[in-house]
Symmetry: C2
Subunit: 316 residues, 2 copies
C-alpha cells in the first residue's frame, strides 16, 4: 500500500484491518510522515486494552509462555496483540527470531496480531515507540496486549512498565531471592512466574520469592502471587491468566489503574520532550561545532562539563 | 571532613588519600557544590588507568569473580579500584550488599578501593556518574578499575561500555548461543567468561559461544577469547587477567584504545547535555504548567505529541 493516504490508513487501522495496521506500526517505528496524525487519532481511541508486560532474564521461556498466554486468552474470547521487544545490540539493529518461532502456533488466527520491535539507538525512544505501538493496537481493537521484553535491565523494565500489569518470569535456578532483588525485579512485579516448574527446585524458588515478598513493606492490598508454569506444556497458563485478570480487577477497584496510567503518560511526555530537545540541540550545534568539541575532549584541553556549558550557553 | 575546602579535597584526592577520595566520589554522586571543579581537575589527570567492565546476568558470580580479579591484580603489583553498580529499582534507591560481602576478603589492603554506586532516576545519569567516578579513581592513581554491573539490559551495557575492555560473564546454563545473542551480549564482549565452570555443561557452553563468535563478521584482528573460571576457587582468574592485559596491549597497538575512548567521551558529552537540557526545560516550564499538561493528557483532551510541541514552542 505505498500510496495509501494518511486519513485512509488511519480509518482502516481503527477499523481493525490487519494490513493497514502493520503499515501503521511501521510508520510509528520509523517516525514516517503521517505518523503524528496517526498517533493523535489512535491516542484518542485508546485506553480500552489491558496491557501486560512480561519480563525476565534470557532463557526463562518468555516467548513460549507468551504464545500460550495468547492461546488461553483466545479461548476466553479476547483478541490478543503481542509486542516482542527484542533487544539487539546498539550496533546491529533488527529484531531477532521472535516472529517466526511464534507464527507457527498462532498463525492464521485473525484474533491474534504479532509484532517484533528492535531496540534502536535511544532507549527512551524504545519505550516511547513501544507505548505508541500499543496505542495503535489498542485503538485497532485488541483487548489484551502482551508486551514481551528480553533482559532485566532498567531499560527493559521501563518498557515493561508501559503496561498496566507487569509479570516477571524466572526459572527455578534464578529464583534465589537475593539475586532477584539485586536485579531490581522485586519492586516492579505485580505477578511472579516460575516457569519450567518441572525442573528441580521450583517449589523452593517460589518459597524464596514469597519469603522475600513477605519481608517487604506492602503498599496497597494486592498480594503479589507467585505462579508456577510449564509453558511448553501450557501447565499453569490458565491460572496465570486468572492472576492477570484478578490484578486488573484490583487496579480498577482501587483506582490504581487510573493512577498508573497517569504516571506512564507523564513518563512518555518526558521521553518525548527529551528526544525533541536533543534533536533541536544537535540541529543548532551542527557537525562542525560538534566535531571541534570532540577533538578538544580527546586532547583533554577541555572537560566534558566545560564543553557542555559552552555549547549550551551558545544556544541562548 | 565537613569543612574541607574544595581545593584541598582535590589536592588530597589527587595525592591518593583514601578518605578524601571517598568524599570526592560522594560529591560526584550527589553533584555537590565543588564537584564540577573537582571533576575538571580529575579529568585532566586521568587517562592512565585501564578500565575493565564486567557484566552479565544476575547469579553469574560476578562479585566473587571481581574480588578474585582484584587479588590477582594486586599480586601483579597493580592498584585496584572496584566500582560496583548495583541496579536497585527506580523506586528504592541505595546500593545493595556489594561492599560488605567483598570487604571481608580485600579489607585492609591499601592498594584496593571499593565503591558501590546505586542507580538513580536517570540512567544516562548513571553512566555519566560512573564515568566520572572512574575519572576520580584514575586521577587518584589506581592503575586498574573494575566496573561491575548487574543485569544485562541496555543501560548496564552502557555502563560497562564506559570501560576500555568489556567482559561478559555467563554460567554454563546461560551459555546457549542464541540466548546470548538475544541478550545483545555477543557484540559488546571483548572477552567471554564462563564462570562456575565446575558445573555440568561448561565446555559445551564455551563451545556454543565460540561457534557463534566464529560465525560473526570480524572487525579487526582481536579474537574474542572464552575463558573458563571457577571464581570461588580462584581457578582461571590468573588466565582471565592475562586475557584482559592481552586485550589492552591489542587496543594500544592498533590505536583502538584512543578511538574507543573518543567514542566514550562523545557519549558522555551527549548524556551530560541531554541532562542539562531537561533540567533547563523543567525549570522553565514550572510545576503549574507541567501539572496542567498532565491533566490534559489524562483526560485525553490532548496527545503527548501535541503537548510536547506546545510546551517546547512556548520556550522560544
Amino acid at each position: 500500500m505505498p500510496d495509501l493516504p494518511t486519513s485512509e490508513l488511519i480509518a482502516r487501522t481503527l477499523a481493525g484491518e490487519r494490513v493497514p495496521l502493520a503499515r501503521a506500526i511501521s510508520w510509528v517505528e520509523n517516525e514516517s510522515e503521517g505518523s503524528v496524525e496517526l498517533l493523535d487519532a489512535c491516542f484518542g481511541a485508546s485506553g480500552r486494552a489491558f496491557r501486560i508486560g512480561i519480563t525476565g532474564p534470557p532463557g526463562a521461556g518468555k516467548s513460549t509462555l507468551v504464545t500460550k498466554l495468547a492461546t488461553e486468552y483466545r479461548h476466553r474470547g479476547e483478541t490478543v496483540a503481542i509486542v516482542a521487544v527484542d533487544p539487539t545490540s546498539p550496533f546491529s539493529g533488527g529484531a531477532l527470531l521472535g516472529d517466526r518461532v511464534r507464527m507457527v502456533e498462532l498463525a492464521g488466527d485473525p484474533g491474534v496480531f504479532i509484532r517484533s520491535m528492535a531496540t534502536r539507538g535511544s532507549m527512551g525512544g524504545l519505550a516511547v515507540h513501544t507505548a505508541q505501538v500499543c496505542d495503535v493496537l489498542d485503538a485497532a481493537g485488541y483487548s489484551r496486549i502482551l508486551i514481551e521484553t528480553v533482559g532485566v535491565g532498567q531499560s527493559e523494565l521501563e518498557v515493561a512498565q508501559t503496561a498496566d500489569t507487569t509479570a516477571v518470569v524466572l526459572v527455578p535456578e534464578s529464583g534465589d531471592a537475593v539475586q532477584a532483588m539485586k536485579a531490581g525485579l522485586m519492586e516492579i512485579a505485580d505477578v511472579f512466574v516460575i516457569n519450567k516448574a518441572d525442573r528441580e527446585g521450583a517449589d523452593r524458588a517460589a518459597f524464596a520469592i514469597q519469603s522475600a515478598l513477605d519481608l517487604r513493606a506492602h503498599s496497597g492490598t494486592w498480594t503479589i502471587p507467585v505462579q508456577l508454569t510449564i509453558a511448553s506444556k501450557a501447565d499453569g497458563v490458565r491460572e496465570l491468566v486468572e492472576r492477570f485478570e484478578e490484578h486488573l480487577a484490583y487496579l480498577r477497584e482501587t483506582g490504581d489503574l487510573e493512577r498508573r496510567r497517569r504516571r506512564r503518560l507523564e513518563q512518555r511526555l518526558r521521553d518525548l520532550i527529551e528526544d525533541q530537545l536533543w534533536r533541536q540541540f544537535r540541529a543548532h550545534a551542527g557537525d562542525g561545532i560538534w566535531n571541534d568539541a570532540l577533538a578538544a575532549l580527546a586532547q583533554r584541553s577541555a572537560t566534558p562539563h566545560q564543553i557542555a556549558t559552552r555549547l549550551l550557553s551558545a544556544r541562548d
